[in-house]
């Protein structure tokens, strides 16, 4: 079973961790469906 391909994905990245767009690139390369992607900032 594939966790990523069977689900619709929401990405909550972090400016000082892994930003949303970096996660998006990984997901797009395997054809996963991204519903929404954002990046949080605590500083």
């Amino acid at each position: 079973m594939s966790l990523l391909k069977d689900k619709k994905i929401i990405v909550i990245g972090d400016r000082d961790g892994i930003p949303g767009p970096a996660i998006d690139e990984c997901l797009k390369s395997i054809g996963a469906e991204i519903l929404f992607s954002s990046t949080e900032c605590f500083v």
Binding site: L3, L4, I10, I12, A22, I23, C26, S29, L35, F36
Partner: protein, 107 residues
């Protein structure tokens, strides 16, 4: 979690069904990852956002967890995340995420 992000998560879960949603986090450390995970499962622990008291129970992982990483293209992962993964305390993140999932995830 940012209030606007909570609102989007809530709306999308309602629209597509919580069982069909997977949330992927990029938090910088374990506790922050845990709080974000708690927000999309048991509700906003800071009582500030639209997910306060809303127990979505969504499936949630940090992008550096094996369950996610193993499905991604290793070359792209290495290019986008590899070096930051070395900087992060992944064990701490995995522990926090696992604890929250076991307690609150419904899917």
């Amino acid at each position: 979690m940012d209030l606007e992000n909570q609102k989007r998560v809530k709306e999308l879960a309602e629209l597509h069904g919580p069982e069909n949603i997977l949330v992927i986090l990029g938090a910088a450390e374990g506790e922050a990852a845990g709080i974000a995970a708690e927000t999309v499962t048991a509700g906003d622990p800071t009582y500030a956002g639209p997910l306060t008291g809303v127990q979505l129970g969504l499936s949630v992982y940090h992008v550096c967890e094996d369950a996610i990483k193993s499905e991604l293209d290793p070359t792209v992962y290495d290019e986008q995340i590899g070096m930051m993964e070395m900087v992060l305390d992944v064990d701490d993140i995995v522990n926090e995420m696992t604890a929250i999932r076991e307690q609150y995830s419904k899917y």
